[in-house]
């Protein structure tokens, strides 16, 4: 396998965002995933979200673990620093990075093997600490890079490509994230860009732990009859509770939707999410009701998608630790070292 560089020239009429950047400025190198992989659609949605939000690419740090999904940060935001860490441990590396510099945007990309099996502990603890991040799980229910073994999110009773039936209970990362205190929880589908892009935008501007589970069918190992993570299955069982539009706090706010079907959610930083409610029973502010809705629909074989829960005024890890506004990596000797006079006093107390 080789590293493929994309040609830099582009059509002069490509649209530009408020920074004067085109889409191409948000792309990475050419994907080496299988043609038709759901993960590439998610990369495209991330690119679109960052382009629309006019984020400076170098202000994003993208971190991942190991697996097909974890390879994708190479394929978007080529001007961002990336870190492909070890299997299942992206959350700890991201937490450390976030502690070092609170001013960057942290995008964690993981898979179902990476987050629900080997990294379940780190997933849980990063969420419960309220690390300010966007944590995306590209969920296909299967180990792709090692050729088709079940993952822990595979539904009980679903069938592997070679015919094996999964007997183990599946892990629902969305339900776990809610229970663990994520302040922004969403589920989407790689094939539904219209839903996914605004979710990613809203998650980026959310100042807390934002978790997005994106069902992303594996064309090579999990797109057959009997799979519950195939394109056809997900399309047939998708129960979208809302469609959203996202308006960043940095732009003048214009909201013009029909009353009764739209709810405007204002986030802490002034950004607004306009929810077009598709299911009138669903309340995104009531965590208990949301969990109940989620579990009831799961029991009926429905996959609930949309923005499922949001806390408009979340705390994050830095707030809990009361760290200074200056990023810790920018502090110098005079702010960090107490100096020799203090040390003399310290010595004097030990005699």
């Amino acid at each position: 396998m080789t590293y493929i560089v994309k040609p830099k020239f582009h059509h002069p009429a490509l649209p530009k965002n408020s920074l004067g950047y085109t889409h191409r400025d948000y792309e990475g190198s050419v994907s080496t995933l299988c043609a038709g992989c759901g993960h590439d659609s998610i990369s495209a949605a991330i690119i679109e979200a960052c382009f629309e939000l006019a984020i400076e690419p170098h202000r994003v740090a993208k971190l991942s673990g190991i697996g097909c999904s974890s390879k994708t940060p190479t394929y978007f935001l080529g001007q961002s620093h990336g870190f492909n860490s070890v299997h299942g441990r992206m959350p700890s590396v991201l937490t450390g990075a976030n502690l070092a510099n609170r001013d960057l945007i942290y995008l964690g990309v993981s898979g179902d093997g990476d987050s629900a099996s080997i990294g379940l502990g780190q997933f849980a603890h990063a969420i419960r600490r309220g690390v300010n991040m966007v944590y995306i799980v590209e969920n296909n229910g299967v180990y792709g890079l090692t050729k088709g073994q079940f993952s822990a999110t595979a539904d009980r009773g679903s069938k592997a490509k070679r015919g094996a039936i999964n007997n183990d209970t599946s892990i629902d990362l969305v339900a776990m994230a809610m229970q663990l205190g994520a302040t922004f929880v969403a589920r989407s589908f790689s094939g539904d860009k219209a839903q996914l892009v605004p979710i990613i935008k809203a998650a980026i501007e959310h100042k807390g732990a934002a978790f997005i589970d994106v069902l992303s069918p594996c064309v090579a190992f999990n797109n057959h009859l009997g799979s519950t993570k195939s394109f056809d299955y997900v399309r047939m069982h998708n129960e979208a509770v809302n469609r959203l539009d996202f308006i960043t706090g940095r732009e003048p706010i214009k909201v013009d939707y029909e009353p009764g079907t739209v709810e405007i959610v204002e986030q802490h930083d002034g950004s607004k999410i306009a929810l077009r409610k598709l299911n009138s029973e669903y309340d995104i502010h009531n965590k208990l009701a949301a969990m109940s809705f989620l579990l009831n629909h799961a029991a009926e074989g429905q996959i609930v998608t949309g923005l499922l829960y949001v806390d408009s005024d979340p705390d994050d890890l830095h707030a809990n630790l009361a760290t200074v506004d200056t990023p810790l990596n920018a502090l110098a000797e005079k702010e960090l070292c107490p100096g020799s006079a203090m040390l003399d006093k310290f010595n004097a107390g030990l005699r």
Binding site: M1, T2, Y3, E56, P57, H58, R59, A61, P73, T74, G78, Q79, S80, H81, G82, F83, N84, S85, V86, R89, P91, S92, V93, L94, T95, G96, A97, N98, L99, A100, N101, D103, L104, G121, Q122, H125, H318, L321, A322, T323, V324, D325, P327, L328, N329, L331, A332, E333, E335, L336, C337, P338, G339, S340, M342, L343, F346, N347, L350, R351
Partner: protein
């Protein structure tokens, strides 16, 4: 004959864990110090919170021998559970101090020791009603009695009590009262003093009395660490806890109450080291503190940090392994697992402080080394240094010292057109430049990964670039040799063909043993190794001597293994002297082991026999 000794004896307190004895015992040790006589105390404690036996040993040593001596001259036997064993462990001619409220049959004692009984329980029951008070003051009462039988300066003890309870001064009077209950009883009812005496001296100087873990934590503060991620494990937990205390004192803004540090108690050691690596990758100085089992858990991440070249500082307060081993006993048993941590070809930088003062210095230095070398740096202390108060030189800091942040390419350098290759060896020292995330909008970004890549951080599985990178990492390790602390050499008064290599907490015992060995007519040159990779001095020292003893506190002679492997030395040249029962190595042990060996070899050096 009862032992007669002034300012040179060992007192051991046998207590029950959780009985509040620790602070009384420490009070005793500090009182001796205040009289100008050096002490070296050691906690000998079980992996337990309440109920199991615990001992506190105080070596009183005007000569300043701070290693464990072995043997007990005065046993303060406060634990019925271990009474018989404690009595048996007293040196011939020694003394037993015990609570004689309940009479014991003569068979429980020995003829060759002096038995001193004080009815501690009876005194407490008479004075106090509250069971908690009875327990706590009993400890102070025995300190009072000891002050009489050892002829100590009671004023020094009273002053210490006053200092200790400065913020809760209602406690001063009751403690002083309890002290005098014991002291008065002893003065009135016993022959005071006994053959063991503490006499005022002037042998402490400006030295400080501090636990290694405390000094280590302060070293991290002075070294500029801002992120600490850790998981509780004996005997290292107090490093992170002390770091928290020091930071609250030195790094919290008085006005805004905001913190110039972040401490995370992680869910496990994997997460701890992951956070350290993430923070260091992003340019913050970061460390974790752990012990052997934690190092085992961190292996995969350590390989990543080595290969992806990310700074990290690890404090490993070693304890007896393998597995859970003896969690509250000391050993130097993690050298090999740290030196070659992780799968594949790896080598890591290790530092070996000998005492709290050096733990402070080396921990601060570790952050410079980590940034300079862009690799994990291990500070290997152990339980003996970490969890015991040790008398050592005062901590020092040079205010003109600037942190060495290593090779970081800035936005300005990128603007000026510097050729940035993350793994490009521009200075021929094996150390490339790195950029921090967020440096420049269009230049200097790269992808950090544990997979193979070329000099410009582009993924590749080609053999050439892979081997090129692995060779460069070796060059970097070579550079490290000149950056880690140099060995300290001390030659014998007379020329000798024999030498000894040692490191870390073995130091005080070795310092003492060398005199004992010299007294047997066997001069010995000494080399204290302070870092890995080894400086050329180590090769030279071995080359200059026929026999070199390598004194260590592990079973498998781990330092010797590193020397033979890394310096290409014939293992036959290095004679292992190994102490690994979990107790601190003693001068007596070293002197006997080396002395006997030299006696046996007096005639024909091994090399001549073989040739």
């Amino acid at each position: 004959m009862p032992i007669e000794s002034v300012n040179d004896f060992v007192v051991r307190f046998a207590n029950v864990n959780g009985s509040g004895s620790a602070s009384a015992n420490e009070l005793f040790a500090r009182s001796v110090l205040r009289m100008g006589v050096p002490v070296s105390p050691r906690n000998i404690f079980p992996s337990n919170i309440q109920g199991l036996p615990t001992w506190y040993e105080v070596r009183i040593t005007e000569a300043g021998h701070l290693g464990a001596r072995g043997g007990v001259d005065l046993m303060v036997a406060m634990n019925p559970q271990t009474f018989d064993k404690d009595v048996a462990s007293i040196e011939k001619g020694g003394y037993l101090f015990y609570d004689n409220t309940k009479p014991l049959p003569p068979s429980r004692f020995r003829d060759d020791i002096t038995v001193i009984g004080v009815p501690l329980t009876a005194i407490c029951n008479r004075e106090y009603i509250d069971p908690r008070q009875r327990q706590l003051f009993k400890n102070i009462i025995y300190v009072g009695a000891l002050s009489a039988i050892l002829d100590m300066d009671v004023g020094a003890i009273e002053k210490l009590i006053a200092e200790q309870f400065r913020s809760k001064d209602t406690l001063i009077e009751p403690n002083v009262h309890a002290l005098h209950l014991g002291r008065d009883y002893a003065l009135m009812n016993l022959d005071c003093p006994i053959g063991l005496k503490v006499k005022k001296a002037n042998a402490v100087g400006d030295r400080i009395f501090i636990e290694g873990n405390n000094a280590t934590a302060l070293g991290a503060v002075y070294g500029g660490a801002t992120v600490c991620a850790w998981y509780p494990i004996t005997p290292s937990s107090s490093v992170a806890e002390a770091f928290q205390r020091h930071c609250a004192r030195y790094r919290t803004d008085a006005k805004t109450r905001t913190n110039r540090y972040a401490i995370i108690q992680a869910e496990d050691e994997l997460s701890s080291i992951g956070m350290v690596i993430g923070a260091s990758w992003n340019g913050a100085r970061s460390f974790t503190a752990t012990s052997g089992p934690g190092i085992s858990l961190m292996q995969e991440f350590l390989g990543l940090a080595y290969f992806a070249e990310i700074p990290a500082v690890l404090i490993d307060v070693q304890r007896a392994g393998p597995s859970t081993g003896m969690p509250t006993r000391t050993q130097q048993c993690d050298l090999v697992s740290c030196a070659y941590a992780s799968h594949g070809d790896t080598k890591h930088v290790l530092l070996f402080p000998e005492d709290p003062a050096e733990a402070f210095e080396m921990t601060a230095q570790a952050f410079d080394l980590a940034d300079r070398l862009q690799t994990p740096i291990f500070v290997l202390t152990d339980l003996d240094i970490g969890m015991n108060h040790r008398l050592c030189r005062p901590l020092k800091w040079d205010d003109s010292r600037a942190y060495d942040r290593g090779k970081i390419m800035t936005a300005e350098m990128l603007e000026q057109g510097s050729d940035f290759g993350r793994y490009l060896d521009v200075d021929n020292d094996g150390i490339p430049f790195r950029t921090l995330p967020g440096t420049h909008p269009t230049k200097g970004s790269f992808f950090t990964r544990g997979t193979s890549r070329d000099r410009y951080a582009r993924y590749t599985e080609e053999g050439g670039p892979y081997a090129d990178n692995m060779q460069r990492l070796l060059r970097k390790f070579e550079t490290a040799k000149s950056l880690v602390p140099r060995p300290v050499r001390r030659n014998a008064d007379k020329p000798t063909k024999c030498g000894a290599i040692y490191y870390g907490s073995t130091s005080p015992a070795m310092d003492e043993a060398i005199h004992m060995i010299a007294a047997r007519g066997q001069p010995l040159d000494m080399l204290r190794v302070r870092g890995f990779p080894f400086h050329q001095d180590v090769n030279d020292f071995i080359a200059e001597h026929e026999f070199v003893f390598v004194v260590e506190q592990n079973r498998d002679s781990q330092l010797r293994t590193l020397i033979t492997t890394e310096c290409g030395i014939d293992p036959m040249r290095l004679v292992p002297v190994l102490h690994f029962d979990g107790t601190p190595i003693t001068a007596r042990f070293i002197a006997n082991a080396i002395g006997d060996h030299l006696d046996a070899l007096k005639v024909t050096p091994l090399r001549k026999v073989r040739s």
